[in-house]
């Protein structure tokens, strides 16, 4: 991929600089119960008709949310 210069890649040797978010059932709550202001920004995604949202400010840090939805694996990045 010519648009990437390997000598410019700035990564740590082991592990992750930002901890990925791997949701469990305990992570889930109805959005209506979260008490969020109307203008709070979200990332929404769907698999097979099931929909989930993530807080954009949390994804600023995690960059990756990975799990399973509707029996299918998913990976959301930001």
């Amino acid at each position: 991929m010519s648009r990437i210069n390997r000598s410019k890649i700035n990564i740590q040797k082991d592990g992750f600089e930002f901890t990925p978010f791997r949701p469990t059932h305990e992570s889930e709550m109805p959005l209506t119960d979260a008490g969020l202001k109307p203008d709070i920004e979200l990332i929404a995604f769907e698999r097979n008709g099931e929909r989930r949202v993530l807080l954009l400010t949390e994804m600023h840090y995690h960059h990756v949310c990975q799990g399973e939805l509707a029996g299918e694996p998913y990976l959301v990045t930001f």
């Binding site: 990437i4 410019k8 990564i11 978010f21 791997r22």
Partner: protein, 203 residues
């Protein structure tokens, strides 16, 4: 899924000011926008990818009142603050960005000067790396435009509530792959992409 197996990903750093993904199983490096593996044992493979929707609580609840939130268990304060400075707490309407020095040092060339580096907009793309950028400033909230691209007509509309631009094909056959993005990141990922220019209004 890679060869039928789930690989687990995280971000070990950046290149071109953009997050790099690494999978725990092979330590290969992946482009987080295109899903392509560019370094390591899996180089050349590509993850299947779909679009996500950036929106607001108000707009989401209007269309999906029963939607489920996935809430993170916690974020280190320092890193959360740093990322809010770089990205901004409000991503949708914010124009401009502050790129730290280590972002710039990871860039393989100068940022494409055709637009301001922090210009926010909608990038649309095809599987074979054709792409076009629609600057947010070209559209008002609630407004839509039609544009000919790739031999088809694309309708780009900014949401009346959340102000987010979204693209769909006018022929009714779904949506192209798209993302809300800053110019610098999109132009590094899709060099020489087209840029939408509003037609001059008569008079």
């Amino acid at each position: 899924m890679v060869d039928g197996n789930v690989h687990w990903y995280g971000v070990p750093g950046i290149v071109n000011g953009l997050a790099v993904l690494r999978d725990e199983e092979s330590s290969s490096l992946w482009d987080h926008i295109t899903g392509e593996c560019f370094d390591g044992p899996l180089a050349g493979q590509r993850l299947p990818f779909w679009g996500v929707d950036i929106t607001t609580v108000e707009a989401e609840l209007k269309s999906y009142p029963d939607v489920v939130l996935l809430k993170s268990p916690g974020i280190p304060f320092f890193k959360s603050t740093l990322m809010n400075v770089v990205i901004g707490k409000n991503f949708i309407d914010k124009q401009g960005t502050t790129l730290p020095g280590f972002f710039r040092r990871s860039m393989h060339t100068a940022i494409d000067p055709r637009l301001p580096e922090g210009e926010n907009g909608l990038g649309v793309m095809t599987d074979d790396h054709q792409a076009k950028f629609y600057p947010m400033s070209a559209l008002q909230k609630g407004e839509s435009i039609e544009d000919d691209w790739m031999g088809r007509t694309l309708i780009v509309q900014r949401g009346a509530i959340d102000g987010v631009p979204r693209a769909k094909w006018a022929d009714g056959n779904g949506r192209p792959m798209q993302l809300l993005t800053r110019w610098y990141g999109f132009s590094f990922t899709y060099p020489k992409c087209e840029i939408y220019e509003p037609q001059q209004k008569a008079g």
